[in-house]
Symmetry: C2
Subunit: 397 residues, 2 copies
């Protein structure tokens, strides 16, 4: 394929795990992809390497000092634009591109991702918080501006792959798989005593501490239910979760004829990344092949919402109003931080989340998300509520 | 949908299992389907009922006496055309229709299916022998006449469903699942002593005796490999078989990016039938839903070609020449009949098949299938060889 028709990529969060793997895929297929923009935080060494290798013409860093240092390090290799902070991030997000990989972590990614959506870009979505906190809003903006929204985490990519070539009216149910986390086989009494170290010990994936705790509470799966609801515009009652400890079946779709399609593979983020980049085609990746006979056995269990109440909280939030998932997400961030700081026991996370969500539901009427200010307001309110609840309950520090 | 745009169906083999279930699906969606032709054998009672219910205008029976009796039974309800034998069958096969369900059993179905293909019809293929014995020829005829070829058995429908919306250049491997049959866990010595009754005792499906034995030898899976090779135009080295005792995963497709799609469901032929009829859409079927948590566990094993040599014979036949699968199929029919008649022990089936295939490979050069005469010749030669081998080995009657 001629260089002129290469797909132009912007990577937001280029020095993070998904960002790096996105660039690895782009590097493997230089005839298919051209990197035009990169945004990162404070890892200037890695960012400078990426700039030298991929020659983007727009780059952004966390702050002005970082931008200056990057310019100094790159010297003659400095790109035309080096920005910083929220402004630089947004400028890179709407820089000349076909595809924007939204791989920032946290609320920071909301504004630039929305800017890229409004610029009509195809979006690769790895930044969970975007759909979790602002799903209803994002869905409307995508519909209004015509770009594609391509999921990058393994469960939603699995569903997206199962939906390719199918009519959405023929879909009856999305089935997300969950590993069940490190406490899948623990009884409630033991879970109540779980230490931070035990909660961080995820069976199948090596992840950051926040997401590891979310995996242990099943809040992570709950947040993925929220994402699925908005990514695929699917009513929550048609989204199910099954526990699948081996994490080989990444998710499934049931159709109106009773047929179920599933996507399987060894855990490797390059698959979902490449599928988002090249959709509807696939890239020949040099990844380990799944050998089902080596795996031998796949198990499936009903999630136990008694031991893991966070999963149902996500459904409750979806049933409440558009802002409730943002509230739940913010409360959860506060509660998980408190657990990681050993300020509350493990079940305190679910208790805090439930209390804040209840307070939200009883304090407000049906609340829609008109803009990011509404999201920020819900987020801020929930954080304050969570802190208050932790203090009042005697659990918080 | 207006009656004028209903899909017109011909069902060849309408009183058999797939034929009846095809009509059941058509009856459930009278606005979508209109039955224009039916062909059956000697079950005149059932055929007469079907004619009264679906009002086709062309019908055929096994022989002239049957046709006369049917006309007498139907009286004023008799359709415009009632034929019989090979001529009647072919006339119904090319009767006014959009879709022909080829659900006859055995070599009988070859000629009318080929006639329907040459008439440009979409073909629902349940008649295994068509692709097993004449796959190369059928593939060429389909390409020349532009109709669709829609698999109806569960494994090939599964692959077809996984391929929907995917590019064939992105496919790296087809993976057929096999239940493993009743002797999956038996050692070779015990298999050598297997009785007819034991071999007929299939764990997951209630089937006819020929196919039950083929399932016990894994010849059935071998023949499905042959079908898959021609249905999907896939080189045999890119077709694998895994044993999956629960028969929930009906088959899988691996893509060049390492991703694997699988189709799952409870065993119910209405799913594959409806998918073929309505492709690329799906029909809302009232079939039992798969609950993976109720199934609990899915197992996968490598097929043991030492205990079940028939599977490798199919690959050997595909590697030999276009006629070799027809040879293997014919030898197998003779050998299975001999086993069912208690004339040979269970391992005699594989031994007879191997001997006849070997004789074919060493007696002929590369032989292509130009027409059905070539298929018939290979078939006849192999049956004679098999009988001879059974007699010479002292195993046959």
């Amino acid at each position: 394929m001629a260089s002129g028709t290469r797909r132009r990529l912007v990577v937001l969060g280029s020095t993070g795990s998904v960002g790096e793997q996105t660039l690895a895929v782009a590097a493997e297929f230089p005839d298919r992809f051209q990197v035009t923009g990169l945004a990162a935080g404070r890892n200037l060494t890695k960012l400078a390497e990426q700039v030298r290798r991929f020659r983007p013409d727009a780059v952004s860093t966390a702050d002005a000092a970082g931008a200056e240092e990057l310019r100094a390090r790159l010297g003659a290799d400095a790109p035309a634009f080096i920005g910083s902070g929220a402004e630089g991030l947004e400028r890179v997000a709407v820089h000349d591109a076909d595809f924007v990989m939204a791989a920032l972590v946290g609320a920071l990614g909301l504004q630039p991702t929305l800017a890229a959506i409004r610029a009509g870009r195809d979006i690769g979505l790895a930044n969970k918080e975007v759909m979790v906190t602002a799903g209803a809003l994002v869905r409307r903006e995508v519909a209004a501006h015509g770009g594609g929204l391509l999921p990058v985490d393994s469960e939603h990519s699995a569903i997206f792959q199962c939906l390719a070539g199918q009519q959405r009216d023929d879909v009856s149910r999305l089935i997300l798989t969950a590993s069940g986390g490190p406490f899948r086989t623990w009884d409630a009494a033991r879970i109540a005593q779980a230490t931070v170290k035990q909660a961080l010990n995820h069976p199948n994936w090596d992840m950051g501490s926040k997401i590891s705790i979310d995996s242990a509470t099943l809040m992570n799966k709950g947040l993925e239910v929220v994402e699925a609801r908005w990514l695929f515009d699917m009513p929550p009652k048609r989204i199910d979760v099954v526990v699948h400890p081996q994490s080989i079946v990444h998710s499934l779709v049931e159709f109106t004829d009773g047929s179920v399609l599933a996507q399987l593979g060894l855990p490797d983020m390059r698959g979902p990344i490449a599928f988002a980049l090249e959709y509807p085609r696939r890239l020949p990746l040099d990844v380990p092949r799944l050998d089902l006979t080596a795996v031998g056995r796949l198990d499936f269990e009903t999630p136990d919402t008694k031991r893991f109440p966070c999963l149902e909280l996500a459904f409750a939030a979806l049933a409440a109003d558009e802002a409730a998932p943002a509230v739940l997400n913010a409360a959860n961030e506060v509660a998980v931080a408190a657990f990681l700081a050993s300020e509350i026991p493990f079940p305190g996370i679910a208790a805090a989340n439930a209390a804040v969500l209840d307070a939200h539901v009883s304090s407000t009427g049906d609340r829609s998300l008109r803009d990011l200010d509404d999201v920020a307001e819900a987020d801020g309110w929930a954080r304050a509520q969570a802190q208050e609840w932790l203090a009042a309950s005697g659990l918080g520090a």
